[in-house]
């Protein structure tokens, strides 16, 4: 039994890569949970192909999962993996370029068959031809070792046994980084309880992988990554998709409004439908509509009926919902539209991330039809964003667009669980009776310019509303009056603008108050911006950061903030959409940094953009 040397590490970035059929996402998820349980801070970046199950061994069939974990608090899944687990040649080929020079490659030797090498376009076996000399390569016959480990298990075929090889890899890497094994073993028991053979095979493979690291000479060292400092509390690891779904359920619970979620499946928004449909015991109604137009109308109908009407989709579906959203603007009913942005235009790259729907959210409808917009900026923040979107929608009787992103939806991070009692209360304030001496005026507005919400069922409040222009301040009857139309237009705009009176001011992080450059962000760039600013400050640059949560209306102090810095940089996963809004509104010569590659901005990229502007 060789003794192994233990090294401390504070940052590790591991990427698991293999065939879509190899279960890399599952492997990554399990490794993430074990890591979370250990108290490391972490961020993940799943990356799967568009194809469901592309032919084995092909380059476009590669599925990958990256996790960055650390003993300090971290903000991004990491620009470059330090460790690459490659289950076959295609996985190596498509991911090697991202690996840090001198990084570690753990390859499944058995996957490097001539057939697979050819499919990946390798003339020779890179594990043997020295082309990986710049890296630390561990070639491990994972498949055969797995098969061996599972021998004698009752009722398991060789094919099934081979499928357990991802658990071998998981075991091995778990050993390398001292991850707890019990969490994973417990999960296997639970998950495959009904299929004992599979359960036992996976268990055996996992242990074999772990022991392989422990016992063989191949690995001289393994690593320890201490728990990251964290505020006291109970934590869980959560993805943006789950957090958003739970946020809607929380808003429903806090408002007492039954949640009605109507949606038409679309990547990456479908996960919201999937998650919500599992929680009917919360009184959640999920409706898979015939298309996005129907989904939006169903949610609006539910809203008219006094439910919490929500519809969710991604870019192409947003295009289709615009007309209905415009109707909601005219009806002034509470409704939330979730847009999990993906790479466009058109069908684009459905599984890749982008944040290029902001201007559509602002201006995607004909005529003047303003509405509030909230944008989530971390996976866990999707929970708060959902609650805030609902709060605004209900208080102001307006449709609200909630922007998320593919990256936020799929990525995960540790989340300190809030105390339910501390969540904002949301008051539906349904109209109880007539509001104008004995009469009910559906467009008589309150101090927030919001109109009464009077769902069917209350005697005396019968009323009719529609998309034609209406008398703007009391009856809501159809009106073709010229001045009323202008008044109505101004009122709809004023109501949205008014929200800024109560939303928090834009907070600026300017450690020494002497920054020369403000980096203003929104959405998923949050982590990258914080990380890059940190690095730049470390290098002696004076940088301030601020991040938007409310995209419309903007925080009331943003003009001041922008004007108080000589330089403003706005990094976006689009061609400069917030940039346009800010420049038009405040006439500040803000500059943009744009990346539209279907992946997040890397800290090093942004750091460079910051520093070159300050040198």
């Amino acid at each position: 039994m060789v003794t192994k040397h233990v090294e401390q590490k504070d940052h590790v970035v591991v990427r698991f890569a293999g065939d879509s059929g190899d279960g890399m996402q599952l492997t990554g998820d399990r490794f993430t949970t074990a890591t979370a349980m250990l108290g490391n801070d972490l961020a993940t970046l799943p990356d799967f192909p568009a194809e469901i199950r592309a032919p084995a061994g092909t380059l476009h069939g590669v599925s990958a999962f990256q996790i960055h974990f650390s003993s300090d608090d971290i903000l991004t899944p990491g620009d470059h993996p330090t460790v690459l687990v490659a289950m076959n040649p295609a996985a190596l080929k498509t991911n090697l370029a991202d690996l840090v020079r001198g990084g570690t490659v753990i390859a499944n030797e058995d996957g490097f068959t001539d057939r697979n090498l050819e499919k990946a376009g390798y003339p020779a076996n890179p594990l043997e031809d020295g082309s990986l000399d710049d890296y630390q390569v561990f070639a491990v016959p994972m498949t055969s070792l797995t098969v061996r480990a599972t021998e004698g298990i009752e009722g398991i075929t060789k094919k099934e046994a081979e499928r357990s090889k991802n658990f071998f890899a998981l075991g091995l890497v778990s050993w390398m980084y001292g991850r707890p094994t019990d969490v994973t073993l417990r999960w296997i028991d639970k998950k495959f309880g009904t299929k004992p053979a599979i359960r036992d095979a996976n268990t055996a493979a996992f242990k074999a992988g772990y022991n392989f690291g422990e016992t063989t000479e191949i690995f001289a060292v393994h690593y320890e990554v201490k728990a990251a400092p964290a505020a006291p509390g109970t934590y869980r690891n959560v993805s943006g998709a789950t957090a958003l779904a739970w946020g809607l359920i929380a808003a429903s619970a806090r408002s007492g409004l039954p949640l009605f979620y109507a949606s038409y499946p679309i990547t990456p928004a479908s996960d919201l439908l999937h998650e919500l449909s599992r929680h009917k015991n919360f009184g959640v109604r999920t409706f898979q509509a015939e298309d996005e137009i129907a989904a939006a109308n169903m949610a609006l109908g539910a809203a008219f009926s006094g439910h919490l009407g929500v519809t969710g989709t991604s870019g192409p579906g947003m295009d289709l919902k615009e007309e209905t959203i415009g109707l909601a603007v005219a009806l002034e009913l509470p409704m939330v539209i979730v847009d999990v942005q993906r790479a466009g235009p058109s069908t684009g790259m459905p599984t890749k991330t982008e944040a290029a729907d902001l201007l559509m959210a602002m201006y995607g409808r004909h005529g003047e039809s303003p509405l509030p917009i909230v944008a989530a900026y971390t996976p866990a923040n999707c929970f708060d964003a959902a609650i805030e979107a609902v709060r605004i929608a209900v208080k102001y009787r307006t449709p609200v667009i909630l922007l998320s992103e593919t990256f936020l939806a799929n990525s995960s991070e540790p989340w300190r669980l809030p105390d339910v009692a501390d969540l904002p209360a949301i008051e539906p304030n349904f109209a109880a009776g007539p509001n104008a001496d004995g009469q009910f005026l559906p467009y008589l507005r309150d101090e927030n310019l919001a109109r009464p919400w009077a769902p069917p069922g209350t005697e005396g409040l019968e009323h009719r509303i529609g998309g034609l222009e209406k008398e703007a301040e009391s009856t809501g009857n159809i009106s073709y009056d010229a001045l009323n139309h202008e008044k109505a237009t101004l009122l709809r705009a004023a109501k949205v603008a008014k929200i800024a009176e109560e939303t928090p001011e834009l907070a600026v992080d300017d450690p020494d108050g002497d920054a020369e450059l403000l980096v203003l962000g929104w959405g998923s760039t949050y982590g990258t911006i914080q990380d890059a600013a940190r690095r730049a400050r470390g290098a002696g640059y004076r940088v301030a950061t601020a991040h938007l949560f409310h995209m419309n209306p903007l925080p009331r102090n943003i003009g001041e903030v922008l004007r108080s810095y000589p330089k403003v940089l706005i990094p976006e996963l689009n061609m400069g959409q917030l940039l346009k809004i800010v420049r038009a509104e405040f006439l500040v010569a803000a500059e943009g940094f744009h990346k539209v590659q279907g992946v997040p901005i890397f800290s090093e990229e942004l750091e460079h953009e910051i520093t070159r502007r300050l040198s």
Partner: protein
């Protein structure tokens, strides 16, 4: 259960509270908005019949919702003094589905046109029918686009000359009843705007039907398509002899003195016959409750256009699970099995860890 005795569409609720305290009258369903249709429009007759019928239903105005799309027909929602939404073009069935699914106890009605429901809204119509959502759909079929001033619609006959087809339309029209049957509708009927009695009877049956009811109403647009239904609508044009009034369980006969009838041939095709010649007992007996929709479908095709003998009445009326109720049941079941949702429990479910 058999049809007809259903207490769907808001009546349980109303009934649940015992007979509605106040006697309801037509006035209770008449809003303060003055109708703005063209003088002589068939929509006036429809409005008056509906407002005259609703009080009998026993559902108070505040438990009823009228949803309409865009079109002359769409204005309907403003004139009935209940809760109402005038939505966007073609989407009324989807909007109404949201309402009826969220609040199954409400009585939800849809007023729509041949363009609204069959052209832009065709998809929502067929999906609401197959799901059997508890909504009552009134299709104001005037075979024309009225509000946009006279283009042909999906029900206009081939060759129709309109503003958009000066050389005649090339489109083969839909047969709305057949389309609804092809879309798995559980209740399908046809009536005529100016036949108050027949129209009211159909409304009554639709209201008591549990699930989606589809009613095609021949509606005269006297400005852009006057007389399109003369053969079955105008006494002078001999409407009597052309109206084939379908009655469940009755042999199908028609004509001034019922001298004509419908028989089914061995190959399943239908023929119009002289009752005198073939004898009453050879006549086809209408069965609206037959689970399999082929008979209703054959009757729908007895007349492709209402220019000669044309069936009106209830083609099909069968029992199927009601969408909104089924969803409520799923929720009740889930709450029974999993218990009322507990937010804190949800947040703490699965793997968590604590930091002191």
């Amino acid at each position: 259960m058999t049809e007809g005795d259903g207490q769907g569409n808001g009546q349980e609720q109303a009934g649940g509270e015992g007979p509605v305290a106040v006697e309801l009258t037509k006035k209770d369903f008449t809003s303060d908005q003055e109708p703005r249709w063209c003088p002589g429009c068939g929509d006036y007759a429809i409005l008056s019949t509906v407002q005259g019928f609703l009080p009998d239903l026993g559902v108070p105005p505040w438990k009823m919702v009228w949803v309409a799309g865009i079109g002359c027909s769409g204005r309907f929602a403003y004139y009935v003094d209940t809760y109402g939404v005038h939505g966007i073009h073609g989407r009324a069935p989807a909007l109404a589905t949201g309402i009826a699914t969220a609040r199954p106890e409400l009585s939800v009605w849809v007023a729509t046109g041949d363009g609204d429901a069959l052209s832009i809204g065709g998809n929502h119509l067929i999906h609401s029918l197959r799901r059997n959502v508890d909504i009552k759909i009134l299709l104001f079929n005037n075979q024309i686009y009225g509000l946009t001033k006279g283009q042909y619609s999906p029900t206009s006959p081939e060759g129709k000359v309109t503003k958009s087809t000066p050389f005649g339309s090339l489109d083969h029209p839909f047969n709305p009843v057949a389309l609804a049957l092809g879309a798995e509708a559980s209740f399908v009927a046809r009536t005529i705007d100016n036949d108050r009695q027949h129209f009211s009877a159909v409304l009554r049956a639709a209201a008591s039907h549990r699930g989606a009811a589809f009613i095609e109403i021949y509606q005269n647009c006297n400005v852009f398509n006057d007389g399109a239904f003369a053969a079955v609508r105008d006494k002078q044009a001999g409407a009597q002899k052309n109206q084939i009034r379908l009655e469940h369980g009755q042999p199908i006969r028609f004509g001034e003195q019922g001298e004509k009838g419908v028989t089914m041939n061995p190959d399943g095709t239908l023929s119009i016959v002289d009752v005198g010649e073939v004898g009453e007992d050879r006549l086809l007996v209408h069965d609206a409750h037959r689970p399999e929709p082929s008979l209703a479908f054959a009757l729908a095709h007895l007349a492709e256009q209402p220019v000669g003998p044309t069936p009106i009445g209830i083609f099909r009326q069968v029992s199927r699970p009601v969408y909104g109720e089924a969803m409520d049941r799923q929720i009740a079941d889930a709450q029974e099995k999993l218990g009322q949702g507990d937010l804190a429990k949800l947040l703490h479910s699965g793997d968590t860890w604590s930091v002191e």
